[in-house]
């Protein structure tokens, strides 16, 4: 008997996925990833089985990332070579992550995997999110709003290490780096992607702070990594027949509007805005866990058993916080885009006036 079933796509379901797709796409176009984490819970809320939701989410990610990467490559933001190298190791990380999840599920059941995912959420987003946000705030406060960026001490050290036979030149770093440093970073990106659906929360900060890429290039290069990982993941799930291509294409319908808008947005903002959006989303997503964790602990009898109604309300609040994270990110992007375009127009008018040129 086939235990997997695909849902009937109603107009309301399609509209919801389309709208979430637009917002998620916008965030992905801007920071390289981050739009996908609400889609799996959103689909599951609509009655889509967990495995189909994960598979369909990945199937919409790789074409979205491809379109976004092509668009941002036109603006000179993408380091294709770095993206492909990181992507290949991320693929291994993703496969390993799946095995870890399956093993935890076999021993501790669904609640065990949920707690594991929450633990990773809290640790990664807590540390990296706070760091990224602090860095964005520091740059903003220092009035460092130019396109120039400062290579961290760690990245300078990484770039200074010469391991013969493993060195590769990357345009975004303007330096040669040993592939041996890229292996764990790519692997961790894939591991995170298979755990919380957003590998970019490690991939982008790693490229900025460990390898020394500008935030603008790191966020665009992440789209190449997402394409490589998403393509591999889709083949994996499609082989098992669990991809609901209808759901994936409905999300894509919205997300391709969003990703183009997010990509255009990057041309009007400074490097720190990318960090700001990423940090705000990461920290907000982190808060969503506080609503989920009591339920998991209650199911494992580690705390007093909670009423089903209370669990349902807490889960709804958690899901709402995930949407809030995306909405906040989208709001900052749209406002930065509007301000950036107005400023850009003003500058052109001033230059035209100086030039004695009437537009």
């Amino acid at each position: 008997m086939d235990i997997i079933s695909f849902i009937d796509v109603t107009f309301t379901n399609a509209l919801l996925l389309f709208l979430v797709g637009i917002v998620g796409g916008m965030v992905s176009g801007f920071i390289g990833s981050g739009g996908a984490f609400v889609l799996t819970p959103a689909m599951m809320t609509l009655g889509v089985p967990g495995i189909v939701a994960v598979a369909s989410n990945i199937c919409h990610k790789f074409p979205k990332a491809l379109v976004g990467a092509i668009k941002r490559n036109k603006y000179g933001h993408v380091d294709i070579k770095l993206g492909i190298v990181m992507g290949i190791f991320a693929e291994f990380g993703m496969l390993y992550g799946k095995t870890v999840m399956t093993n935890i599920k076999n021993v501790y059941g669904d609640v065990g995997t949920n707690l594991y995912v929450s633990f990773i959420f809290v640790v990664v987003l807590g540390i990296v999110g706070t760091f990224v946000l602090r860095d964005a705030r520091r740059m903003f406060k220092a009035g460092d709003t130019g396109q120039e960026f400062v290579v961290t001490k760690l990245a300078k050290w990484v770039q200074s290490i010469n391991i013969p036979g493993t060195m590769m030149h990357f345009d975004s770093l303007k330096a040669r780096v040993s592939v041996l440093f890229i292996v764990p970073l790519g692997f961790a990106t894939g591991l995170l992607a298979s755990t919380i659906a957003v590998g970019g929360f490690i991939g982008v900060p790693a490229m900025i702070y460990v390898l020394g890429a500008p935030a603008m290039m790191a966020s665009a290069t992440e789209l190449v990594i997402a394409f490589v990982m998403g393509f591999g993941g889709t083949i994996f799930y499609a082989w098992d027949g669990v991809v609901d291509v209808r759901l994936a294409m409905i999300i894509l319908l919205g997300s391709l509007f969003g990703i183009q808008l997010g990509a255009v947005g990057t041309t009007y903002v400074k490097d720190y805005t990318v960090k700001l959006v990423m940090g705000v989303i990461m920290v907000t997503v982190l808060f969503s866990r506080f609503f989920y964790i009591p339920g998991y602990l209650s199911q494992l009898n580690l705390i007093e058993t909670m009423a089903p109604e209370t669990l349902k309300t807490l889960k709804m609040l958690g899901d709402a916080t995930l949407f809030l994270a995306l909405a906040l990110g989208a709001l900052i992007i749209v406002s930065a885009l509007i301000k950036g375009m107005a400023m850009h127009k003003k500058q052109h008018e001033e230059l035209a006036a100086l030039d004695g040129y009437e537009d």
Binding site: A238, W239, G241, V242, V245, L256, F257, T267, D355
Partner: protein, 85 residues
């Protein structure tokens, strides 16, 4: 933000193709569900169908959405080119 007429034909053509593709997808929704079912039953080569659909849709719909924003005047920031006298 200025309306750009030049991108309009591209937006209209690719928008129309995209609409046809999405309509076909819903018309053949039952067949797509059946193909996924067959894949799960062991006919794994059908895995290629969702991947091909994803590539075709991303090209057509991606071109449309790009032209759509261009038409609305949402273009990337350009460097100011000094007028030559």
């Amino acid at each position: 933000m200025a309306f750009d007429k030049a991108s309009l034909p591209k937006a209209l053509i690719f928008g129309a193709i995209s609409a046809v593709l999405y309509t076909l997808m819903f018309v053949y929704s039952g067949e797509l569900i059946e193909l996924a079912h067959l894949t799960r039953q062991g006919e794994h080569l059908w895995f290629i169908v969702p991947i091909l659909i994803a590539f075709v849709f991303s090209y057509v719909h991606g071109t449309f959405t790009g032209a759509f924003w261009d038409t609305l005047g949402l273009k990337p920031a350009q460097k100011y080119n000094k007028k030559k006298k």
